[in-house]
Each structure stands twice: as C-alpha cells, then as structure tokens.
C-alpha cells in the first residue's frame, strides 16, 4: 500500500519555484531518504505531505487521504523543529499535549524512557540542551503510534553520539513495520538508515534509486592540477572548470581518472584529489546530461 504520494506537484513562493512537478511514492514499510542541498525543496515537499501547505499544482495523498484532513493525519508522526518547542511547558506536558490528539498514544513514561528523557519529565523545554530538545522533538513524532513518520532533517546540529541514539530509535520503529520518509543533507545519515534515496535539487527529482547507486552519483571528488594548454579529454568526468591556471575535474571515480591522467600525455603539476561538498556534487549532476538520464 502507498502511504505517501506526490503526483506532479509544484509549489511556488512568489517568484521562487520551490518544487517543480515532483512525483514521489512511499510504500508501507519503506525507509526512504530525501537527499538534497539547502534550498532543494525538501522542507516544502515535507510540508505538503504533512498537510501544512497546499500544492499550487498536482496532488498529494497520505495513507490514501488528503493530508489536510485532520483524520488522515492520525496515522502521521512529524518532528517539530528543535527551536519550536513551547519554552514554558514541561517535557511531560508537551508529550501529554501531543498525545491527546491520538486515539491510542504511547504512555508517557514508556516514550520518555525510550528516548532517554525519563529524568527530564519535569523540566521546562526552554531549559533543555540542544541535544535533549532534539530527542524530545523526535519522540513527539512517535507518540501517536503512527503508520508513517516524516522527519525533516532530524539530526541537524547534533553531536555524533546523540545522532547515533536517534538513528537507533528510527531503525527500531522501521524494524517494527513503520514507514519513514527522512530528509537530510548528510549522505552519511541517509546511508546509515535508508534503503532508497530520492535526490532533490532545485525543486526537481534528480534521482530515485538505491543508496549505492546514488552514492555513485553524488560521491563526487574533485581532481585538480595545473597544466598548460587545453584541458585533456578524460573518462568519467562530470564537470570541468578552469580558474587561476588550474584545471578542476569533478568525477565519481577519482582513482580511474588519476590512472587515466598519468597514462595520458598531459604535462600536469600539483595534483590534488579532494572530496566535494554535497552542494558541489549536486551542481555537477544538475548540469550534466548524465544526471538527467539517470533521473529519467
């Protein structure tokens, strides 16, 4: 059964197009990662699927219904942004308040225990540390025993230990049959959790594939060197750039590229191989025709 679906969805803010004819399906029991740089449209897509906003064009469904209908959202769990917790309410009160919206909420002690918040039940949320707030925010997504949770960048700004703790909670929910749509701009996070990745860039779906396949696309490295004359034609290059007398080549396989470079007659100096940021990788695949073919 399809639990979340977007069909040819577009959404604009004034002149800015946040989503441009995006289609996506999440089936029951899947853990789908939504990967993209800042501004790719991840949050907008999440807000359409959770009923916060309305698409300008196209259609979204949640568990077969309209996500803007509150009854549909009884099967949905969402995480608030960490900065959004009401500062004067206590941890236990926030959990009770959210739980009151669902027919069969997880009992408060059980939920707090699971997310390591049991000692903090009486604290006001304004007094929690960043990591504690984040744990509470994620716990709230699970209060109502949801069939599907939509987590928008759940671990941004967390230390490694807290991040792993939250990954365990998400994995446990998924192992129990839960469906997850998780957005992130960390490839590492998607790799740790998801089976399938949807890559979003500039409001469009660039790829929808397995983690391994997408890693090949966005795990791009930069091979740069100085040389005189025209840049050589080499295999596996997705983007070429020349500035300050150096040639920069972006490639998913830097080993093969360096071998080819050495074997060629190019007279290069100061060879450097460096990882690229996800942003750079996206720019590269957005511009290259290979990426369009992959996304099709």
């Amino acid at each position: 059964m399809i639990l979340a679906e977007a069909i040819e969805v577009s959404r604009r803010y004034g002149d800015v197009t946040a989503l441009d004819r995006v289609s996506l399906q999440v089936t029951e029991g899947e853990l789908v990662g939504l990967l993209g740089p800042n501004g790719a449209g991840k949050t907008t897509l999440a807000s359409l699927l959770t009923g916060v906003r309305r698409p300008d064009e196209g259609r979204v469904t949640l568990c077969g219904g309209d996500p803007r209908d509150p009854r549909t959202r009884q099967a949905l769990g969402v995480t608030p942004q960490e900065t959004g917790l009401p500062a004067t309410l206590r941890v236990g009160e926030v959990v009770d308040f959210v739980g009151a919206h669902y027919p069969n909420p997880v009992p408060r002690p059980e939920l707090l225990e699971q997310f390591g918040l049991a000692d903090l039940a009486k604290r006001q949320t304004g007094g929690l540390s960043g990591g504690q707030k984040r744990r509470l925010a994620i716990a709230l997504a699970f209060v109502g025993r949801p069939r599907i949770v939509v987590l928008d960048e759940p671990t941004t700004g967390l230390d490694v230990q807290s991040r792993r703790g939250l990954w365990d909670a998400i994995k446990a929910y998924h192992a129990g049959g839960g469906t997850v749509l998780l957005s992130s701009h960390y490839l590492e996070e998607i790799e740790a959790l998801a089976d399938r990745v949807v890559v979003l860039g500039r409001g469009r779906v660039l790829a929808d594939d397995t983690v391994t396949a997408v890693r090949g696309m966005v795990g791009v490295r930069r091979v740069s060197f100085a040389c005189d004359g025209e840049p050589p034609a080499l295999p596996g290059v997705v983007a070429v750039e020349q500035r300050d007398g150096r040639t920069h080549l972006l490639t998913p396989d830097s080993d093969a590229l360096v071998r080819a470079l050495v074997a060629s007659t190019v007279d290069f100096r100061d060879l450097e191989v460096a990882p690229t940021s996800l942003e750079e990788a996206f720019l590269a695949i957005t511009d290259s025709s290979d990426a369009v073919a992959l996304a099709a």
Partner: protein
C-alpha cells in the same frame, strides 16, 4: 465542545500563567483608567460611577481581546511550533475554540481589578441579578473584539499586528463613547459611536447593570461587526499557512 478544545485551552493557559507579567499588562490600563478618571471625577455619584465602571469593563475586554488574539496569534504563527501543530490530528475548530476559551478566562481575570476598584472605591452599585447579567453580557460584547483580534492575528505578521492593535483600540474606545457617560458625549462622538462595536457592547452592559435603554442602531451595528469580523477571521485562518515570505 470537544475535549480536544479543552486540552488546547488548558495548555494555552498554562503557557500564559508561566509568564504572569503578561496578565498584568492587560489588567493594568483599565485599572489605571479607573483610578485616574473614574474614581476622582465620578466616584461619588452612584449612577455615573456604575456607568463609568461598566465602560471600563468594556474597555478592558476590548483591549485584552484585541491584544490576546491579535498579537498572540500573530506571535504564535511566527513560531515553528505553530507549523508543527498543523501536522497534529486536529482541525481548526479545537485550536480556535481552545484559544477563545483561554482568552475569555484571561479577560475575566483582567476584569477583577476594575470591578474591585469600582466596588470598593466608588459608589457604583449593581444588584445580584445585574451582576450575573453583566457577566453574561461581557461574553457577548467580547465576541466582535475576539474575532477582530483573530482576523488581525491570522492575516498580519507580528510587528504589523502589534501596530494595528495599538492604532485601533484608541479610536474604538473614545469613538464608542467609553470615556464619556451615556448622555454627555460630545456631539461628534454621539454621531459616530452607534457605528462602532464598542458602543453596542457597552450599551448592552449598561442595560444589564443599570437603567438604560440600548439604541437599536448600536445593537444592529454590533451584530454587523461580529459577523464581518468572524468572516474575515475564518477567511484569514483558511488562507494562512504559517508565516509567509516573498
């Protein structure tokens, strides 16, 4: 009324009570007006003091409704928590109702100083029946201002909502004749007052606590303001999707 509305009201009140100074804000201005204007000028005349106290009660209700809902809602909408609440399994009704219940409770609390000053420091009097009728009337009179506040809060960003509330409460109070006794308002105010919601609200209250015959135009206009403000509030809520950026 659903239990969910009560849940929303309860947590709204909890949030407000944890910052008690907010309560003092809405109670201060009407109480201060009582002390500076009503007690020295009308305190010795039972009829004038009763009318003036009722005027200040209406004033208090108007100010606290406009600010609680207008500024309060605009402020909430600017918080990420509001976007999250929209993902919970509750529609508009429990949130609207919960907010109004909590606002009414806060308004009643902010009335206590005005009523106490009226009772203890002036000659204002009211029968037991008049008092009960008066409390019921307060709820009716609060309705247009509550809806105006919601309309402002759901259609404007916080800073704009604050300015609009500050700009309109003053002409509503003076224009509606809250600062003058029923038959001694300046001619210009007597002309415009029936068309302002404050007039209908205060006339209802005067009729409840004293011997006063409300004017038909004022009451019809009170109903018109209530319906229009309600329509704008619902429209603004429906089109609202949190804070917008262009």
């Amino acid at each position: 009324m659903s239990t969910l509305a009560l849940v929303h009201a309860r947590y709204q009140l909890l949030e407000t009570i944890r910052i008690p100074i907010a309560l003092i804000g809405s109670a201060f201005f009407p109480a201060a007006s009582m002390l500076f204007f009503v007690v020295p000028f009308a305190g010795d005349d039972p009829v004038a003091a009763t009318y003036a106290t009722a005027s200040m009660v209406t004033f208090s209700i108007m100010v606290s409704s406009l600010f609680t809902y207008g500024v309060g809602v605009a402020d909430d909408r600017s918080q990420p928590w509001d976007g999250y609440m929209r993902t919970l399994a509750a529609g508009a009704a429990p949130r609207f109702t919960g907010r109004i219940l909590a606002g009414m409770a806060m308004s009643l609390v902010s009335l206590v100083p005005v009523v106490l000053i009226g009772a203890l420091l002036t000659e204002a009097t009211v029968s037991a029946l008049g008092f009960v009728l008066g409390v019921a009337t307060v709820f009716v009179g609060a309705l247009p201002f509550t809806l105006m506040g919601l309309a402002i809060g759901y259609s404007l960003p916080l800073k704009a909502a604050l300015v609009v509330c500050q700009v309109i409460f003053f002409p509503l109070a003076f224009g509606g004749g809250l600062m003058s006794s029923p038959d001694q308002a300046p001619a210009f105010i007597a002309t415009i007052a029936p068309y302002l919601p404050t007039r209908g609200a205060v006339e209802l209250l005067w009729a409840a606590v004293a011997d006063f015959e409300p004017d038909a135009t004022s009451l019809v206009m009170l109903a018109v303001w209530t319906v229009v403000a309600g329509a704008v509030a619902v429209w603004a809520y429906r089109r609202d999707e949190g804070r917008r950026f262009r």
